[in-house]
Symmetry: C3
Subunit: 351 residues, 3 copies
């Protein structure tokens, strides 16, 4: 079951080149993404309405997508505009199209009722456009787990001490006992964790020249259905970090996390690393990216193992612990959104 009336990241903008077709499966719908004549991204069902051939075998022609089997051609709205062997085009000849918006280097897609697609609810991440102050690199990785298991992962950072001992972890107990303040909203949540006067972890030391202990923070914002905006960093202890994090000589980076469901048990993990500490040094941006990539690979392994167990035995016998607080609030928001959508669908189908 997926929340469908929602914006998901479908692709990085630079994944969709002019004239090319990108195939993805989102919320279990097979799709193709391409740039129509105006450069805007179109998203169509990856299944021709003639004989069900995947449209990804086709080609982009005059801003439309031509099926590679018998040549039916569809515009950005999924309307068939050409059938090679005949002049009359039946009304029914069409494929499903999906609203898309390209913003902040990301292509967003709306998987549900197109009438409800409100662009103003797309989370903003202007750092992707701010090459001068927050140069970034990004990628997408495929994870064989339900996307919400990765949201879970990011809502309970006590895992850092255990999963990321060789990268951003370090002292386990420090992570477990980090002071965390959760701010709950009806439509999302955010939290900030402080590790004051602490040793910088391995990854931080590889990226930045620290002296002595640091005041380290992790600030996370969860935006439903499954996007997370992160700001993390550290500065020398005693400089009043908790009052003001925008000081010079501060190690700080931002991450965008977009967790988009492919199927019930697999997802795409879109993420970026934005360098806020040495923005003029491309090598620093590159190094931040490769260090973060290592930590995401660590998460991928354990979350895929978790998915195997859940697929086989479900949630039976599981016990929540104190550090699940933010995660449980997030899950309640999800449940409410799913329930609302189920009610709406029922109303629609009975009227």
């Amino acid at each position: 079951m997926f929340i469908r009336n929602a914006w998901y990241v479908a692709a990085w903008g630079d994944e969709i080149q002019d004239g090319q077709i990108l195939a993805r499966r989102i919320c279990n719908d097979p799709l193709v993404l391409f740039r129509a004549g105006d450069g805007l991204v179109a998203a169509l069902e990856d299944r021709c309405c003639h004989r069900a051939a995947p449209l990804r075998f086709g080609r982009v022609t005059e801003g439309c997508l031509q099926c590679g089997y018998h040549g039916l051609t569809f515009d950005r709205h999924g309307k068939c505009v050409r059938i090679p062997a005949q002049d009359l085009i039946p009304e029914r000849a069409c494929v499903r199209s999906y609203p898309t918006v390209e913003r902040d280097a990301l292509v967003w897609i709306w998987m549900g009722d197109a009438n409800k697609a409100d662009e103003s609810t797309i989370p903003s991440f202007p750092y992707h456009n701010d090459e001068a102050n927050w140069p970034h690199r990004h990628q997408v990785i495929h994870v064989k787990a339900n996307n919400m298991l990765l949201v879970d992962n990011l809502m309970d950072l006590t895992h850092i001490g255990f999963v990321h001992g060789r990268t951003i972890g370090g002292n386990e107990e420090m992570h477990a006992r980090a002071q965390t303040k959760v701010t709950r909203a009806e439509s999302g949540l955010s939290f900030i964790r402080w590790m004051l006067d602490s040793e910088p972890p391995t990854t931080y030391r590889r990226l930045y020249d620290f002296e002595g202990t640091v005041d380290r923070w992790q600030e996370f914002e969860f935006v439903p259905p499954s996007n997370i905006i992160q700001w993390s960093g550290a500065m020398k202890s005693g400089r009043g970090a908790t009052e003001n994090r925008n000081q010079d000589n501060t190690f700080s980076f931002r991450i965008f996390h977009g967790l988009t469901p492919e199927t019930e048990s697999s997802c795409y993990y879109f993420w970026s690393g934005c360098n806020g500490y040495e923005p003029d040094d491309p090598a620093a941006t590159e190094m931040l990216f490769s260090e973060l990539a290592r930590t995401f690979a660590e998460d991928k392994d354990i979350v895929e193992g978790q998915q195997e167990r859940l697929t086989e035995r479900g949630e039976q016998g599981l016990v929540a612990v104190a550090s699940d607080a933010a995660r449980l609030h997030m899950r309640r928001i999800e449940q409410r959104l799913l329930a609302e959508e189920a009610v709406n669908n029922q109303v629609r189908s009975t009227t």
Copy 2:
């Protein structure tokens, strides 16, 4: 669901060498094929009646097949003729056998009621035996799609312009608008398409030395359940091709297509290319074969993609177009044959 009271191609004759065992799955029945003592091909269920071991692990001995596990030995009719540790052989000790006929380089198999196996209904393709005038090469490829999707493919040749643009295709619109005459029979159909005064496509030009435009034809005969006999060619425009295609200096080749179901979603594609234009030149026959092999690989890709979509969503929402005419007639014949077989099976099970 398969039409079982029908002849399918089980193998090329030269795939079954003396003393060897060829394992195939046809209509979802696992089989072994081997040459019994008289050189005739036998087809048995690939499952020993003792402990269900696959007979393909066995060996051919004295014209019989000996199971490789405990040595039970079966004759060409599936009757057990030896049990190593005992003298008495129970009547029930037998495996299913299937009627086979070797003809025109092909081994045909009857998957249904053996009493109905009428050899006279096997399609004839004498060109496989006519090395002087129609030398050929053949192969079998495995396709992860229902066999009827490949019959569909051959019944709607407008696909040639799109799928085979780099081989036998060329002008898409020309293929879509080619004059096609379909001849419907109760037990099959044939059609011929003419592209008069047209440019020869890439593949044709690689195979033959054309000057100027050609009159090009494609003649197809569908023989249920899933065999197709093709004669294609081209000659210089203006020489009366539509009246007489058996003239000198004509580029012409024949193809046998045998589409045999392995499972509901996979099949064997047996095909040959017979060289009717330079029969004395083995290199020409070889080159025809390799050019055709490229076009079949193009079909395989798109048809496998089509199968994925149909497996997932079925035929819902699909729209037929004008070029589906022959295909739809073919599908009606199939439906009638399936329905007849279902009635027969019901009658048999109630009497």
Copy 3:
């Protein structure tokens, strides 16, 4: 369906090194095995009770197992003894543990009701500890077949002539007609086969310097649920082998076979080869092992093929033969044990 109130081999003792975690699936339960503080092997469910992460990603610490996701820590009994972010540990925070016993180089596990785990019913195989007289090498192979198909295999040795023609087989008819004496007990069975005055097979000749014909024996004991103890050998004919097999200049070896179900259609095959003929020569022990490994690979192939057929069509139409006698007795014991367990479970669930 598995017999669960039974001892199965879970591992070779030397597979579980201090501080390491070995993951196995037994009777379809995912498990981890590790050495607790006292060196004794502990077996826990491979699923953390917090978020279902596999415990195999964790680490052994102070004789306990710490989950690699959020750090919950479990003792050898599956009791949670630490939750990083909190002081109170709920009673329900635990994972299933399984009784284990390490004996004769093997780690045994009890998969059912722990109250019924009686160590005295573990089969004894002291040769694994007798390096002076029976030096051995061992391994475990994974077989994609129900474990009972391999027990079947060992209960009907007429297969040797057919499956192992190039190793321990040789004359097929001799194997089929070997004099076999089966001794049935309520809780197991044993049999001995004699091939008197026979040619030693290929494998035997590679391992030992025979002159002339031999009196050869194979003695097997089946211990439910799925363990088999074998003593095989041969000595020069005419020396009274049937009266006394413990003579000098006798080629003799012992094999322990432990067939442990992984799933309904896969298993672990634990086996050893114990050299009783040249105990002082490590090269002879090594060579015995590699010859036996070849025969087990031959069994694996055919039994995996058999499993495929049984998965697809079950046992329908199968016919027992004379050589199935021991096998059928073994299967009746299994059925009785399964039925008893089903009754016990029913009684337990209604009281």
